[in-house]
Symmetry: C2
Subunit: 208 residues, 2 copies
Amino acid sequence: MADKKMGITQRKEREKEEMRRLILAAALRLFRERGYDGVSIRNIAEAIEYSPGTLYLYYQDKSEIFFALQYEAAAVKRDYLLPVADIEDPWERLVEFGRRYVEFGMKHPDLYDLLFITRAPMEYIENQECWKLGLATHSFFKETVQACVDRRYFKSTDTETIAYTLWCHAHGLVSLFVRERMRMYPEDIRQELALKSFDMIVKMAGNL
Amino acid sequence: MADKKMGITQRKEREKEEMRRLILAAALRLFRERGYDGVSIRNIAEAIEYSPGTLYLYYQDKSEIFFALQYEAAAVKRDYLLPVADIEDPWERLVEFGRRYVEFGMKHPDLYDLLFITRAPMEYIENQECWKLGLATHSFFKETVQACVDRRYFKSTDTETIAYTLWCHAHGLVSLFVRERMRMYPEDIRQELALKSFDMIVKMAGNL
DNA sequence: TTGATAAATGAACAGTGTTCATTATTTTTG
DNA sequence: CAAAAATAATGAACACTGTTCATTTATCAA
């Protein structure tokens, strides 16, 4: 009797999880197309053919759906960056980390936006799992910079400032792109310009 | 008779202008506090003690109020940067331009947000006066970089990429700050870190 | 003072996030 | 298997949103 109950509980839990994934998938697709504010709970409900009220049985409110997506984005980003951990040489690791960071932003502008640009209730974000994930990635980045400092790849030994400076450039690069502030450059050279700029900062970094 | 009528027309025009300024001032204050989406037309109307419908006699819709504010922001930024035009030496001019750009972003995060981060209907923005103003400033920036290139202040001669790279860093610096993505650094060192990073990029730039 | 013109109003429309009593379904019990 | 209990889904309702427009109010010219 108890084990039968367990089986059902498990199935229920699985169904609940499936429902959550259904909601999230629809939400991501809609957010992608129309942005966070352009999408209503009713829109999402309609997309999955449920009533609006049902969504509130799986997520407390709209922002919780947002947070769930933000976590997914952080996971995708981590997976995108993870392979560089295998690169032994810290300098090569750092360059590849940067290259992949920018590539992630270019390929998934909606996810990048979710993670680094969208104005969410940031008072709460620190308590989210997502934040921990992001922090871990940031720590890995700083450790790589530290390893470069230890091997005298830079002139400066101020790891914190070096890491931050590199991050600033990469974030600026991606976010100008994502938020369409490069319209003064013809569309076909934007991507190229971004790549050239990345190469430039890499060369510069040797003189940091 | 005609001149009397003219006087009245002028006064009317002036009053209309005053009303616009009243709306804009209230809107900016509210946007500052609660963000674009957090403020309703009714909120603005209430703040200036008029009915919601009245605002539509002065602005076509909510986004036009946004555009008007964006223009104001562009004007403030231009005035903030203008004094550097007097600096003869292009390198000094460039550094001071960057310093002021960052300072502007830090002092007026709401205006910076309006100009470079907020998702506005960007399809229309190019037709706005604001865009022209921004373009002019960007051109001035690129000309200064060009002047530095001409005087061999950089190793590279790729003016476009150099300008873009510097802009990326400055924008990244400010926007991480403005959108609160520096929470992993203790609050009291954030500003300091930003300044250190700016100094670092200045030193680096000599090796661009 | 009256008639014309302009300005301000606020009710109304279709949308939003969210709640909750009601209904439908599924699971457990007798 | 039928009845009871538990769970899930619903959609109407509430207070909000941007926007429009017939109506009212205020200003101005004759």
